[in-house]
């Protein structure tokens, strides 16, 4: 028995009440993400929803290239690791050959909105019956904090050391609003996980995305605006505050396209 299990037993014996259990859909491998990073929370929410909907045995997830390239180390379900940006193409291959399965991609903003723009837009446009979970932290976390398509105007990154300059770097790109305009998307929403209330809302959105797959009406696209405290060079608390004050202005939270 692990130390944690022994400790839990002891606490219960002392009369402690169990108020939270880790979903069985997460492995016991500790997250390798930086402390304070939103990725871990999003992982947990997706895995909880899959367990609660009782679709574990029918769900296939796709990990991107980015900090979450190893999401399969933590998500205790069948998973595929994709080349950078190509997760929606993999998802298409899976869903079309196994239409009864639940398929989701998990992608960062570099993965989804830069190198994978084509795959993202076309999977949305074909109305693939999949869910895309898009974690937008405005930066390339994995490779050490370079500018992403979603990096805010003036924001400093290792490849925009003097701040993002729209004249030369172009403008922040919001694929979420863009794909909402396509008839192939069924549900498009933007969430965050930086407060307990937002976590609850986000979980509901993730659940809706999975439930929609049963209806065969098109693609569900859930953006989660998140922090990259390491890449932003802030403490977790500072990063959440900065996110509220800056990211949400460019990427306002809420539903963008709801099922008719």
């Amino acid at each position: 028995m692990s130390d944690i299990e022994t400790y839990k037993k002891e606490l219960l014996a002392q009369g402690a009440k169990k108020i939270f259990t880790k979903t069985k859909n997460l492995t016991d491998t500790p997250f390798s993400y930086c402390g304070g990073c939103g990725h871990g929370v999003v992982h947990r929410l997706i895995m909880e929803v899959v367990e609660e909907l009782n679709i574990t045995h029918d769900t296939i997830g796709i990990a991107p290239v980015g900090c979450t390239a190893i999401a399969y180390e933590f998500m205790n379900i069948d998973m595929q690791q994709a080349a950078h940006g190509r997760a929606p193409a993999l998802a298409t291959g899976i869903k079309r050959t196994m239409p009864d399965k639940y398929v989701f991609t998990y992608q960062g903003d570099g993965d989804l909105a830069a190198i994978g723009t084509g795959e993202t837009i076309h999977a949305c446009n074909r109305g693939e019956n999949i869910a895309i979970f898009f974690v937008n932290n405005g930066i390339y976390g994995m490779t050490g904090g370079q500018m992403a398509p979603t990096t805010l105007p003036g924001m400093v990154s290792s490849t925009s050391p003097y701040g993002r300059n729209m004249d030369t770097h172009g403008y922040p790109l919001s694929l979420t609003e863009l794909v909402a305009k396509l008839p192939g998307t069924y549900y498009v929403t933007r969430q965050s996980v930086h407060t307990p209330a937002n976590v609850r809302k986000c979980k509901k959105a993730i659940q809706t995305a999975f439930e929609n797959q049963k209806l065969n009406k098109g693609l569900s696209f859930v953006e989660i605006v998140s922090n990259c405290n390491s890449g932003w060079k802030m403490t977790p608390v500072e990063s959440n505050k900065w996110m509220e004050e800056n990211m949400f202005r460019s990427y306002p939270l809420g539903d963008i396209k709801l099922p008719q």
Partner: protein
Amino acid sequence: MGEDIQLMKGNEAIAEAAIRFGVDAYFGYPITPQSEIIEYLAYEDPYNKRTGMVVIQAESEIAAINMVYGAAACGKKAMTSSSSPGISLKQEAISYMVGAELPGLIVNVVRGGPGLGTIQPSQADYFQSVKGGGHGDYNMIVLAPSTVQEQYDHVGLGFELAFKYRNPVMILSDGAIGQMMEKVTLTPQLPRENKILDWATTGKTPDRERNYITSLYLDPEVQENHNIKLQAKFQRMKDTEVRYEEIMTDDAEYIIVAYGISARISQTVITMARKNGIKLGLLRPITLFPFPSKRLFELSDSLKGILCVEMSAGQMIEDVELAVRCKIPVYHYGRMGGGVTSSTEVFEKFVSLFLK
């Protein structure tokens, strides 16, 4: 019941074979000279009318091969086809498929390059196909059809080998074979299998651990061991999967080594030579990887020379030279950039190189 024989284009034979061999999915993107493959499949509409096989015109060759990856990782028989520039785009994902040990079939109906090149036939993608093509140390079995019948048969064989080794297989065809019409004996329709394979991502059932498909092993020791395992697999291919055809090699003093359309042209050269009393034979590799090196080495003892005929600047010749270890002279003859060699040209070249 009589044999089911049809007159077909090489490209159509591939498409019909895909349906008949029970392939689960085809993902493609138009490019000359192989667009008939996706057009034929679109017209046949196997998803609704024949076997339920999925056919998707993807937004790019990159998307198409990554769709293959997704379906293959579920244990499905998935394939794509393209021609040279499109195959260049697929290389990243082919490398990923080898790394993640995924089966799948890639058809390259080669055209002239480099760059946008020409839509005329060529064999200049030999290096790219046989030596890896994408990043990392890897190989895949490369089949080289020289008839429309073989175009058809190699689809079945390709999938058999892809699943046997859990590695992608390539059919290296060319614009000439893709476009020419010949009769093909068709095989009976095989069912799509819908097998649940123990390694595939079909959903984690309570009775097993999760399956995950990845080529990522960050720990160098683990990655090195993974590479060692892959190399052992490529060695097994070399030991067991070499295929070739020999024509009049028994008494030959010289041989031509040629594959695909060049082998067809060279057959006429053999006939011409024999009429002139020259003991010329042909060795036609059917697998380009693994290459019939051992057989060439054996043959070289009794040969005076080898002519490699390829529609390229001379790529396969490197493997022939390696095989015979410089024991006998080896020359190349070929045209480039879409130029097709004639048998007379090859014969004259042979005579001037070896007999003058």
